[in-house]
């Protein structure tokens, strides 16, 4: 298997160089998306399927779509200026990278957290350790992460990012959207439910749902009125609201923030995750489609 690992690592580095040096914007974005998929594959090799799922759906899919949209709007690459710094920058960067590789190769990993998580896993209410960490042991971090998502949504809203107006893509995209959108809803529900015991969870489910929604938007099947956008904005903000209400509710019931009542942990976790799935899907979708049809003035 070491040969496969070496080939994969070489492919990842080649894609990264290609994504960051190609002059053609579309080629560079394509290389970035391939990089995301290869990285997801390497994370499966590192026994982290939860993260690999998220990277494949969000890192490769949605980020790539965002980059393609921006590439179209920003126009061709500007001519490079200031070549003088290239050599010192290359030296410093390779020194940092080499030093990091050496440090990690020579250090022995601390084995504190994994046994701790394994020991308290039965109390968490779920059997997938990653979900237990995300929504029980370190639920605070996840709450703040959702706050970051809300801030990004509000920034994009305040900037009044231009609404995406899909060009008609022809008859062929209609059956695609009609098949993919229902399957993505089913898949999102499956990932959400499965997340408590196997790889999956709110982030992966939200990303898959956002992908299905975007297929509908790009095929021109989704309604695009101002009311719909406003409703999606409210749905995007509701994740943080539900999470905060759950935090306050658990404080009132058990006396500790996000310390769920005994033996009802799974219900609380799945309920929060369901709200997060909808909110993440709406947020990601809105961040891609933009908010208002601003006039080009």
């Amino acid at each position: 298997m070491i040969a496969f690992d070496l080939a994969l690592a070489a492919g990842i580095l080649l894609c990264a160089v290609s994504a960051l040096t190609r002059r053609d914007r579309t080629a560079s974005v394509a290389a970035f998306m391939v990089l995301g998929l290869l990285v997801a594959l390497s994370w499966v090799r590192l026994a982290a399927p939860d993260v690999a799922l998220a990277e494949a759906a969000i890192g490769a899919g949605l980020t790539g779509a965002l980059f393609l949209r921006a590439a179209r709007r920003l126009g061709p690459l500007r001519p490079a200026a200031g070549r003088t710094l290239a050599v010192p920058a290359a030296l410093v960067a390779s020194g940092l990278g080499g030093g990091l590789a050496w440090v990690f190769a020579s250090a022995s990993p601390p084995a504190i957290y994994a046994p701790l998580v394994a020991a308290s896993l039965p109390e968490s209410g779920v059997s997938n350790p990653v979900t237990a960490v995300l929504l029980n042991f370190r639920a605070w971090d996840t709450l703040l992460e959702i706050a970051v998502l809300v801030v990004a949504l509000l920034v994009a809203n305040l900037l009044g990012s231009r609404r995406l107006v899909p060009v008609s893509l022809g008859e062929m995209t209609l059956p695609f959207a009609r098949i993919v959108a229902p399957i993505s809803i089913l898949l999102a529900g499956h990932l959400l439910w499965q997340g408590s015991s196997a790889p999956g969870g709110a982030f992966q489910a939200g990303a898959v749902l956002a992908g299905g929604l975007l297929a509908l938007v790009l095929a021109g099947l989704a309604p695009t009125g101002t009311l719909v956008v406003r409703g999606a904005l409210i749905a995007g903000l509701s994740g943080l609201a539900v999470f905060l209400i759950a935090a306050l509710g658990s404080e009132a019931l058990t006396g500790s923030l996000l310390g769920y009542p005994n033996r009802a942990e799974k219900v609380w976790i799945v309920a929060i995750e369901a709200a997060l799935t909808l909110s993440i899907a709406a947020t990601l979708c809105l961040l891609f489609t933009g908010f208002e049809k601003r006039k080009t003035s």
Binding site: L169, G170, M172, I179, V180, I183
Partner: protein
């Protein structure tokens, strides 16, 4: 060890990998976009379907056959649609309308 399903599964996976290798070589060697697209959409879908069929033979449980079938269905649809869209973007009158 060498039961019929395992032999069949390994053979199917080998055939699928062969198809994918042919697709990769074709993508590398063929001159223009349309012929590359021709290789990618057909050989890739066939290769992936064979690999999935082989994997289904090897595992043999309904719980694994269903997601594998879904994978094949989704890649087949998206491959066909993306191929159509890419081809449409380069044909002279396909750009708009």
């Amino acid at each position: 060890m060498t039961t019929l399903p395992s032999v069949l599964g390994t053979g199917l996976i080998a055939a699928g990998v062969g198809f994918l290798a042919v697709a990769a070589i074709g993508f590398w060697r063929l001159p223009d976009l349309l012929s590359r697209l021709h290789v990618l959409t057909k050989a890739d879908t066939a290769g992936l379907s064979l690999v999935a069929l082989g994997a289904a033979c090897l595992t043999g449980t309904p719980a694994s056959i269903l997601p594998l079938g879904l994978c094949v269905l989704l890649t087949a649809i998206s491959g066909a649609t993306v191929g159509h869209l890419v081809a449409r973007s380069v044909t002279p009158r396909g750009g708009r309308s």
